[in-house]
């Protein structure tokens, strides 16, 4: 995957580029807003990672400009500003996701990978399949090996989100944001409890588990 990172903190950028490289992604770097904008509008990237506060040109204005040029490349905004208002203005400017500093690299990587997928066509699939597990979004039916699994509405949305991003790591915060639409930080392991319930319903009695816990990062559904 080809990523453009627009970030003025050199140390953070160096570390990010290296870590993204280890994860198998090619990363270009711009250390100020003008250069970043020039690169973003002249080259094709799978994902843009844009710091909100940049020298020479503000991150949000870059996003607004490339959106005005009908560039639909997914954008992840990085910011030290973490209030609800800040998040809302960031997403309104055309950002697709918002990550507050300081963040864990696993969180950033998971979000970048999910974002890149979002841009690929076929997003509006009406059903998902992972191995012998299938989920029909229209009839809201979930089956594994032909057996119907009964899920609560929230469990359904949880599984839907995981299957939409099958093969990718989704973090606990991503689940909380996307399934419950909250951006706060629970102290207890609320998400883990929900996941273990879901696991009990879809993996119990099957030889090969589909729902995997990725240590230090989150969860993933795959064959």
């Amino acid at each position: 995957m080809k990523i453009l990172l627009i970030e003025d903190d050199r140390e953070a950028a160096t570390y990010l580029i290296q870590a993204l490289d280890e994860a198998g992604h090619v990363t270009h770097h711009a250390s100020d807003g003008e250069t970043g904008y020039a690169m973003a509008s002249s080259m094709d990237y799978d994902v843009l990672i844009v710091d909100r506060m940049l020298p020479r040109r503000d991150g949000l204005s870059i996003i607004e400009s490339i959106r005005a040029e009908n560039n639909r490349t997914p954008v992840l905004i990085l910011s030290a500003l973490g209030e609800v208002d800040d998040r809302v203005t960031g997403l309104r400017a055309g950002g697709d996701d918002y990550l507050v500093k300081p963040y864990a690299f696993t969180e950033l990587l998971a979000r970048v990978e999910v974002l890149a997928r979002r841009a690929t066509p076929g997003e509006a699939a009406t059903s998902y399949e992972v191995g012998d597990l299938s989920l029909d979004r229209l009839s809201r039916k979930v089956e594994r090996s032909g057996e119907t699994i009964l899920l609560q509405p929230r469990e359904f949305r949880l599984l839907e989100y995981l299957m939409k991003n099958a093969g990718k790591v989704v973090t606990r915060t991503m689940l909380l944001e996307n399934v419950w639409d909250y951006h706060f930080d629970p102290q207890t392991n609320v998400i883990d409890v929900h996941m273990s319930r879901l696991r009990g319903k879809i993996d119990k009695g099957h030889a090969s588990p589909l729902l995997h816990t990725i240590r230090g990062a989150g969860y993933m559904i795959r064959e």
Binding site: V84, D85, Y182, F184, D185, Q187, T188, H194
Partner: protein, 466 residues
């Protein structure tokens, strides 16, 4: 700046000066008017008196002839006083009178005249000794007998009267000037003294002594009112500073402790370089610790923003019932896993202009507290109940449990930042949970109440509905 210059700068002295000036202008106008009016009055009286005498003497002349008029004028002229009398023959030469050197034109025609004169000396025999000099107003007539009569008054008296009035006025003005200056200076000094006291106190406070207060006198005047309100403000500031200091101390403690742990662990890992597994573990716990620090920091920021009354940009019409149902749904499995029953009694469609994230976070904090402090006791089913209702224009969000509860004397304290009761010191957490709930409640113009649930705690977020 000299003391005098300083005095001159005071409002009181300046006002006094302005008033003195105004007073003087008006006094001069008034006195000028009075003097003018009275001199006219006196003049008219004198003219009337002269006219009467002239008439009388004309009558004497007509009835008694030359002999009678000469005696009458001689008698009048011999009476000491302001009267001026002169009787001359038809060529104007003096027959009798108490005045010499009458200007020729006065004797040549009839009418009213005024002139400087000199009267005959006291020693009638010696003409070289000049009598009293004066200014005369006279009426000159030619009598039926052809004699020339001049009757008048010395108006030096009138002038003396004006001089007395003027003198009195000058004394009065001088007195007023002196007294009002003294009064102004005394008042100004009094005011200055009060202001100096306030200045001195502020100077002391600025050098760091916040416990200084402005002295309040028993006069109970506007300065005392000012001093009282300034002192009240200082009390508030001192209280806030005290609170800030406590918070800083607590922040220092609660952030430094995990930072120290973090550092020690990193150091230990560095020393233990031969053991990659242990090193990896140490690094992982280090990250875990720093995450906790970030969380504490975020909570502090959130409280600060909420307490500062963050811009209400994030305020929207929020379905509080839906938020409570969501959060209950989120926590229900967690409670169940801990062996607690989470029940809800949520009135549908309770709406509020609010910050949805903050209301959600507040509710989460209350539920997490209830879960955290629950102590399993044998035979007792732990319960956490979430209630949302609206009544009498208030929206009430309640989280109650049947856990160990909080002693009444501790209830106010646990809302403060970083306060964790001794028995819960060992529990994980920043000690900021309830302070955040409190800040959120206050941001929404409401309050957080901790009530006795007998047993347990009932935390009530009480918000105004509009």
């Amino acid at each position: 700046m000299s003391r005098l210059a300083q005095l001159w700068r005071t409002t009181t002295v300046r006002l006094t000066a302005v008033f003195i000036l105004l007073f003087m202008i008006f006094s001069i106008l008034l006195l000028t008017f009075l003097a003018y009016q009275s001199s006219i009055q006196i003049q008219q009286q004198q003219t009337r008196a002269i006219d009467r005498e002239v008439e009388t003497l004309q009558g004497i002349d007509r009835r008694q002839g030359v002999r009678g008029i000469v005696f009458a004028v001689a008698r009048l002229a011999s009476v000491p006083g302001p009267g001026i009398y002169y009787l001359g023959d038809n060529s104007g030469l003096q027959i009798v009178g108490n005045i010499q050197n009458i200007p020729v034109n006065v004797l040549e025609s009839e009418g009213v005249f005024s002139f400087n004169y000199s009267s005959p000396g006291i020693d009638q025999e010696d003409d070289t000794i000049e009598g009293p000099q004066g200014f005369a107003v006279v009426r000159s007539v030619v009598l039926d007998s052809g004699l020339k009569l001049v009757v008048g008054r010395d108006v030096g008296e009138r002038r003396g009267f004006t001089a007395i009035v003027l003198q009195g006025f000058l004394y009065a003005v001088a007195g007023i000037l002196v007294f009002s200056l003294i009064a102004g200076i005394i008042t100004a000094r009094r005011v200055l003294r009060r202001i100096d006291a306030i200045n001195a106190t502020s100077a002391k406070i600025m050098t760091g002594n916040l416990s200084e207060r402005i002295p309040v006198t028993r006069a109970n005047d506007e300065f005392d009112a000012l001093a009282t309100s300034l002192n009240a403000m200082l009390d508030r500031i001192e209280g806030l500073m005290q609170g800030l200091k406590e918070v800083t101390d607590n922040v220092a403690h609660d952030l430094k402790t995990p930072l120290t742990r973090l550092r020690t662990r990193a150091e230990a890992a560095l020393r233990d370089s031969g053991n990659p597994t242990a090193q990896r573990e140490a690094l992982e716990t280090t990250i875990g610790e720093s995450d906790k620090l970030i969380r504490t920091f975020n909570a502090l920021l959130m409280i600060a923003r909420a307490e500062a009354g963050a811009p209400s940009g994030a305020f929207a019409d929020v379905d509080v019932s839906a938020v409570a149902a969501d959060v209950a749904d989120l926590y229900e499995p967690v409670a169940e896993e801990q062996g607690l029953a989470l029940t809800t009694d949520i009135a549908p469609g309770v709406r509020l202009r609010a910050n949805r994230e903050l209301i959600g976070q507040a509710l989460v904090n209350l539920i997490e507290n209830a879960l955290k402090y629950y102590e399993p006791a044998d035979g007792k089913q732990g319960r956490v109940a979430i209630v949302v209702r609206s009544a009498n224009g208030r929206v009430l969000i309640e989280v109650s449990d049947n856990g160990p509860g909080i002693a009444p004397e501790d209830r106010a304290r646990v809302i403060e930042r970083f306060v964790r009761l001794e028995k819960s010191r060992t529990e994980p957490g920043s000690g900021l949970g309830l302070s955040l709930v409190n800040a959120v409640a206050r941001l929404h113009r409401g309050e957080l109440r901790l009530e006795d649930n007998a047993p347990g705690v009932r935390a009530v977020i009480d918000l105004p509905a509009t």
